[in-house]
């Protein structure tokens, strides 16, 4: 018999000594000890004492199972109002027990423990458990991303006051076993909140983060989620270009003006949540940018109001012959250009209108142009050299994201080669290579006002850059795993990041601090989108879609998981009434965002984010074996979608 049984035998002897027959029998049965050893139970008294004292509870593999079982029983028998909150304790306790077992070299016990209780954990933990289960030796804890995160950070569990006092009472009763007490003291941060215990649905809505829920304090900071006051662009050139429209109805220009006033003048003034316009310095609008803005406004006035009764039309751009090589797409704000990043490190830009892509004239020829001429912008472009598609070469790894700047003169791209590149869409060359990320860069996004952009990558940081600096202005670090996606807030003051640690965080560009941490996702977050009004943040993961309210950081709506594959594209209609989601399962779904926000507003903020029925889903459109890689609403609310056809097989 190995020395494993020695402590058991010692216990048996002790039991016999005190004549505890019943326990002795049970123990014998449970440990399945043979009669042989049982007969020669004559350990000397001294040795017995040493065995029993030396056998510290923490290093006794059997005490773990026992303690975990006790905790489970306690939670199961507690009142329903506490039960669901308390049950969030189970997973962190379980994980730490497993790691402790490994740490104390009880590798076989650890495996057994995992096998016995691993199945009982919540379904969204299973993936983590699988990743954790490959750790089978204490040397491996160091190399494992997940195990390191767990052992160096505290898991946050939120309990109501009553529930936490229940827990304390239970821990007091467990004097004999210090395992759980130690784990809870060392590795779990219990956040006590006032108010009644939460229901199962409420608990489920916010759990799922790699380290549990967000603490209350983390989401206290005020977030200015309102929109900036738009610069006054009333000095528009008279809309002479819209001759056709003038022909249609002579009174339309008036109407339009009235509408324009509506759009610009009233809204920003009355927004109490908007940050001051100079909170972060924004670039001055150039003359050309103003023209572009003016165009956008005129387009916007022709926009179709969408709603459940008037769904958008969808134009689908299929990338043929691309197979799996096409990775990311972007369509510029005025919907005239389409950029696609490929796994062979190329970027291709297509024009979506009959207007061909033109390059700039060579330097010598540019010298000849009169710079004061009114049409200098037209003159500087090449007349002959025009294409419907142009390719940009420069990266040395898969291009994971391309992004047009708001004024469609620049293009950003990020790649596996850990660089971000800035391209000119006038001379069609690379302008700047931004180095700073250490590992692949997963995502890059422009500020809605241009000039700034934010990137994120495998190095667990997101970085804020300005186009004229080769160093990042801010580094947002805090995520526990890859930062898979970023998004600028419409007012350019905040940046949202989504990560493999299953949290969405909001960062203040001014201070560089984290102002919101939003949990609820049960899987990696692949895409983010801010609503037009700036208050809501939609995030998509592997099939799940959650709308967060960034005023308080709570999930406002958890949309039913109708997508069966990761969601990689989200887009809000320009009037903010429809949310569209595109997934690798070749489906585009349209959600009634008005209903979602109404529902969320109806409730007291922060409470009752109950999973909604399918009533939010308006329609679902399947494509022919073309996973959706990009969605874009035109200024007139036509939905453009991009996907690559992957063959009929």
């Amino acid at each position: 018999m190995g020395d494993k049984n020695t402590p058991l035998l010692a216990v048996l002897q002790l039991l016999r000594k005190y004549n505890l027959k019943g326990t002795e029998d049970i123990l014998r049965k449970e440990a399945s000890l043979g009669d042989v050893e049982y007969e020669n139970l004559d350990l000397p008294e001294v040795e017995l004492a040493s065995i029993l004292t030396a056998h510290h509870t923490e290093s006794d593999p059997y005490s773990y199972e026992f303690a975990y079982d006790n905790l489970k029983k306690f939670i199961e028998t507690s009142l329903d109002i506490y039960k669901h909150e308390l049950s969030t304790l189970l997973y962190p306790v379980f994980v730490h027990m497993y790691l402790l077992l490994i740490l104390y070299d009880h590798n076989e016990h650890a495996v057994n423990f995992l096998e016995k209780f691993g199945q009982e954990q919540e379904d969204y933990c299973q993936e983590d458990l699988k990743r954790l289960s490959i750790v089978k030796h204490k040397d491996q804890i160091k190399g494992n991303e997940l195990a390191e995160i767990y052992s160096t950070n505290k898991f946050v569990v939120q309990l109501s006051r009553d529930a936490s006092s229940q827990l304390k009472r239970f821990l007091h009763e467990q004097k004999s076993s210090t395992v759980i007490i130690n784990i809870i003291n060392n590795h779990i941060q219990v956040e006590v909140h006032d108010g009644p215990g939460r229901t199962q649905a409420q608990v489920r809505a916010t759990t799922g983060g790699m380290l549990g829920e967000a603490t209350r304090n983390e989401n206290r900071t005020k977030v200015y989620y309102g929109l900036l006051k738009e610069p006054d662009i009333q000095v528009l050139p008279a809309p002479v270009e819209d001759e056709e429209e003038v022909e249609e109805t002579p009174d339309k220009p008036k109407k339009k003006k009235a509408k324009k006033d509506n759009i610009f003048m009233k809204k920003p003034k009355s927004d109490p949540n908007a940050p001051p316009n100079d909170r972060i310095p924004l670039p001055e609008l150039k003359e050309t940018d103003k023209i572009e803005k003016g165009k956008a406004l005129r387009e916007a006035s022709k926009r179709i109001q969408l709603g459940p009764d008037s769904l958008p039309s969808i134009c689908f751009y299929t990338l043929l012959n691309s197979g799996h090589t096409a990775i990311c797409t972007d369509i510029c704000d005025d919907s005239t250009l389409l950029a696609v990043g490929f796994s062979n490190s190329n970027i291709k830009v297509w024009t979506l209108t009959p207007v061909k892509l033109r390059g700039m004239k060579s330097a010598e020829k540019l010298l000849d142009i009169d710079r004061e001429a009114g049409d200098v912008l037209v003159r500087m472009m090449e007349e002959k050299d025009r294409d419907t598609c142009r390719t940009l070469y420069g990266h040395s790894g898969s291009v994971y994201k391309v992004a047009f700047d708001p004024f469609k003169t620049l293009l950003l791209s990020c790649s596996e080669d850990s660089t971000v590149r800035l391209w000119s869409l006038q001379c069609w060359t690379c302008l700047v290579v931004y180095r700073g990320h250490v590992w692949p860069v997963w995502d890059v996004r422009w500020s809605p006002h241009g000039h700034y952009f934010v990137s994120s990558g495998h190095d667990r940081t997101a970085r804020l850059w300005a186009t004229d600096h080769h160093q990042p202005l801010r580094i947002f670090s805090g995520h526990l795993s890859d930062v898979d996606c970023v998004q600028f807030h419409p007012n350019s003051n905040y940046v949202a990041t989504g990560s493999s640690d299953r949290t969405v965080r909001l960062w203040d560009c001014l201070t560089g601090t984290q102002v919101r941490i939003m949990t609820g996702h049960k899987s990696t977050i692949f895409t983010l989108a801010f609503s037009v009004c700036g208050r809501w943040l939609a995030s998509g993961g592997s099939g799940e879609l959650i709308v967060f309210d960034i005023s308080n950081g709570s999930p406002a709506a958890i949309l039913p998981p109708l997508h069966t594959a990761p969601i990689h594209a989200l887009a809000f209609s320009r009037d903010g009434t429809i949310l569209s989601s595109g997934s690798l399962d070749c489906n585009i779904k349209l959600w009634d965002f008005t209903a979602i926000t109404e529902e969320a507003n109806g409730e007291e903020p922060g409470a009752n984010p109950i999973q909604k029925e399918e009533k939010f889903l308006l329609r679902s459109f399947a494509t022919k074996n073309s996973p959706i890689k990009g969605l874009h609403f035109t200024r007139r609310n036509l939905l453009l979608a991009v996907g690559s056809y992957e063959g009929s097989a």
Binding site: L320, I327, S500, P566, L584, S620
Partner: protein
């Protein structure tokens, strides 16, 4: 390893480590070392796979590829594994022996010089962008770029389990109509919503489409027909029209087989082919209409006006191929399709001696024996062709034993006087030789002696021997090249233009027919079904049904009974030409068989086919369908097609 559940295949075993060690020249790796290594390597591999998953996700794929692994290695500062690019998936092979079990990947040796000398591979096509409307105001248009509104799987599920459609709470995802506007309001106001199994109304566009397609398919313009067939074969979203299409085909076949209109029959079969080829349709629900039609075109005694001139053999070949395709696609263990089709053809080849042996002797038997002896050669040809398409095994079991009897028939016909018969016999002989030669070649050993063949296979023996030796001589030739002029039809099956005198009548009227008929209603009058048509029933004025009543002693082998219909009078009052007889053997093993019997002229009385189509437990019943056809001489009447509006 404790966790047996994950252990297999998810961790490297000690044995594997030893094998790998051996392969690099370390003969004796200690157990402990191997275990340590195995655990460590497993851990490292898993970490790498985990990281490569990230790259897969960010490449927006759902399949892990080699580049993902390379990238994961790269971020760990490990050199990539070069040279593992493989376009196809590699089979992971398993081998055991000597107490060892191994998984390995087959490595082929590649001749470099061959690659160098080979022409460079084609440049892959450049990526291009193509736009289409995925949705117009919330409605998905059914264009080829969009997936069919009802997926094939859903259609299949529906045909197997119709309840599933009822239980589905909302068809928001699948249906092509938006859940807004009128439909939504209607749904909201209706408290009791009666769900129908299938929507029976067609939209105006669909009705137009149906009309256009059917007209084009049977019309005279070959270009239009090609377009229509292309549309049938490729367009998604036809499933709502399928019931009508299938009825159109089956009714069309019924009418035209009576009128011996070869051209139209060919057109209809091409429609069947197109529907079968459509990837978005699941036809199982409509097989009961399609199979009788197709088999009629295979074994019908007469398919054209001048059997001695028209090439109806091509139609039989084509239909036989269709039948084989149907069997291949839809055969399941529940519907036993192939078995039933095989039985149907085998029945036609039943030689009298076998019939005699297998079935009981009764007054009806005598008749049926006599009749089957007179099975026309054309039908025999069809049956042989139908069986041959089902594969060599079927040929071996069903044709080969009857070759002697078939030979006698051929011999008799060849020595006879009738020109048509001789041609038919010639074709049948050629076909038999073609079909049998490869099979016999497999069965018999090389010394092919004419006498042996003569002894074994009767009249056809010597010719068969020649064919076999020819096949043996040139294994690739496949026994073709017979002397008889049989035109084997190639896919674009275009019927030979009828002779001028008739062409006018047929072709010019065909499109018109559809239009005129469209306004006419055809009433299906199901004549009272005689519960059991006794064999001795005195012949009614129009037809006699001679049905073999199967007693309980009947052997299962003769599952379907032979049913004869004598169209005893040449001038039938209402041109009652097409008759559907459903006969159910009382207590027999086989399910009731639906038989389409088409009799035309008094001289011919025959069963072309017996089709396993319906599984209903209906008793023997006779349903007569009046079909408008003006018999008699004079100018050829326009081929009339049944109007289907009565189904709407």
């Amino acid at each position: 390893m404790g966790d047996s559940e994950f252990a297999y295949g998810s961790s490297l075993s000690v044995d594997s480590m030893k094998v790998i060690a051996e392969s690099i020249g370390i003969a004796s790796l200690g157990d402990d070392a191997a275990k340590e290594l195995a655990d460590d390597v497993t851990f490292r591999l898993k970490v790498i796979v985990q990281d490569s998953m990230k790259f897969m996700h960010h490449s927006k794929r759902q399949k892990l590829s080699i580049t993902d692994i390379d990238n994961a290695l790269k971020i760990k500062n490990i050199e990539c594994q070069y040279g593992f690019i493989q376009p196809d998936s590699l089979p992971f092979r398993f081998a055991s022996g000597g107490g060892r079990e191994l998984h390995f990947i087959e490595e082929k040796e590649i001749d470099l010089s061959e690659i160098l000398s080979a022409p460079p591979p084609k440049i892959p096509l450049d990526v291009s962008v193509r736009a289409h409307w995925l949705s117009v105001d919330g409605v998905q248009p059914t264009v080829p770029e969009n997936p069919p509104p009802l997926s094939k799987e859903a259609q299949k599920l529906e045909s197997v389990d119709p309840i599933s459609k009822l239980s589905k709470p909302t068809n928001k995802d699948a249906a092509g109509k938006p859940m807004c506007g009128k439909a939504a309001r209607l749904k909201a106001s209706e408290s009791v919503h009666v769900k129908q199994l299938a929507t029976h109304e067609l939209s105006v566009e669909q009705q137009l489409y149906y009309k256009e397609i059917t007209e084009a398919c049977v019309g005279s313009d070959e270009g239009r027909r090609a377009e229509a067939l292309q549309s049938l074969a490729c367009d998604p979203g036809l499933h709502e029209m399928l019931p009508r299409m299938c009825t159109f085909i089956s009714e069309g076949v019924k009418v035209n087989v009576v009128q011996n209109n070869l051209a139209l029959l060919i057109y209809l079969m091409r429609m069947v082919k197109a529907l079968l080829d459509n990837q978005s349709l699941y036809l199982e629900k409509y097989l009961h209409e399609l199979i009788p039609s197709v088999s009629t075109c295979i074994v019908s005694r007469q398919l054209c006006l001048r059997p001695e001139m028209d090439n109806h053999w091509a139609l039989r070949d084509f239909a036989a191929r269709l039948m084989a395709q149907i069997c291949k696609t839809f055969n399941t263990s529940t519907n036993n399709l192939q078995t039933r089709v095989t039985r149907l053809f085998a029945k036609a080849l039943q030689c009298p001696s076998q019939t005699n042996n297998e079935t009981g002797v009764g007054p009806s038997m005598v008749t049926s024996m006599k009749e089957s002896e007179k099975t026309p050669l054309a039908s025999l040809y069809g049956a042989v062709q139908g069986l041959a398409e089902l594969g060599p095994e079927v040929v071996k079991v069903f044709i080969l034993p009857r070759v002697r009897w078939l030979g006698e028939r051929v011999e008799g016909a060849l020595s006879g006087l009738g020109g048509a018969d001789r041609l038919a016999a010639g074709n049948l002989k050629h076909q038999l030789l073609k079909v049998l030669a490869p099979v016999v070649r497999q069965l018999r050993q090389p010394p092919d002696l004419p006498d042996d063949y003569k002894r074994d296979y009767g009249y056809l023996g010597p010719s068969l021997q020649q064919a076999v030796s020819k096949v043996r001589a040139s294994p690739l030739a496949g026994g073709g090249g017979g002397a008889v002029a049989v035109v084997t039809c190639t896919p674009p099956l275009v019927p030979a233009a009828p002779s001028p005198s008739h062409s006018h009548a047929i072709i010019s009227h065909a499109p018109k027919t559809v239009e005129t008929v469209a306004s006419r209603n055809v009433v299906i009058s199901a004549s009272p079904a005689p519960q059991s048509p006794a064999p001795s029933t005195p012949p009614p004025q129009k037809y006699v049904i001679v049905s073999q009543q199967k007693g309980p002693q009947t052997q299962p082998a003769s599952g379907a009974s032979h049913i004869m219909v004598h169209s005893s009078q040449p001038t039938i009052v209402r041109s009652q030409n097409s008759v559907v007889v459903t006969s159910g053997p009382a207590g027999g093993a086989a399910p009731p068989q639906k038989v389409v019997v088409v009799g035309v002229q008094p001289a011919h009385h025959q069963v072309p086919s017996s089709i396993p189509g319906q599984v209903s437990q209906a008793p023997v019943s006779v349903v007569a369908k009046p079909v408008f056809a003006r018999g008699g001489g004079g100018p050829q009447p326009p081929p009339e097609l049944d109007d289907l509006s009565h189904l709407a």
